[in-house]
Amino acid sequence: MLRVLVQSGPFEMGAEMDRLSAGSDRVGGISVFMGQVRGGPDGLESLTLEHYPGMTEKVLTGLAREAVRRFSLIGCTLIHRVGTLVVGAPIVFVGASSAHRAEALAATNFLIDRLKTGAPFWKCERYQDGRRVWVEAREADDKASALWG
């Protein structure tokens, strides 16, 4: 079961996990990653996530399908928020369920690595002093994604 959502509102983590868990009695393991806006001493206030409507959904659905095939997943959920999100707010939910733990864990790693550099999202940071800064792509993220071949 594929579940791909791009939305401005929050998602309910418990409900999303339950959905993965209840999908089939063949599920033995569920792995989930959730990314949220990280605060810090630099005074970050919020992130604004811009995306490419249409292409985003296509890319995420393609990624989820690839993960299901590659890791024999039973269920796969990708939820990515867009718009302005304050420190502490959830940004992304990646979930995978499979018969055995290794596949679900590997799929979650794969999905978040690919999401970082392969889906048309861009983050603009806003600081307490009013500065706006577009987040630069990190070379480490490109490398992590490339490792999956």
Binding site: L49, M55, K58, L115, K116, F121, C124, E136
Partner: protein, 87 residues
């Protein structure tokens, strides 16, 4: 009209270009992204400056990641943007 392509700009590039989309005419029925961009930059000083300052720009044709060597055809939807930073 049948000779037109739509172009979208995203994120920092959108702000630098001062617009989020535009429709342009094809110089020929089938050209590479590189050729089309070269043509547009010759006629548009802002675009020339912005693209020159953005060496890592990505391109998508019809909502699929592409390269500057790929072919653009009339009616295509083109998009230019900086490296993606999702997740």
């Amino acid at each position: 009209m049948a000779q037109d392509v739509t172009i979208f700009y995203f994120a920092a590039l959108r702000e630098q270009m001062g617009r989020e989309s535009e429709t342009v005419s094809m110089p020929a029925p089938s050209v590479t992204v590189e050729t089309l961009v070269g043509e547009l930059r010759r006629k548009d000083g802002v675009m020339d400056e912005v693209f020159a300052a953005s060496p890592r720009l990505r391109v998508a044709i019809n909502q699929t990641l592409a390269t500057f060597q790929d072919t653009v055809r009339p009616g295509d939807e083109l998009a230019f943007f900086p490296p993606m930073t999702g997740g």
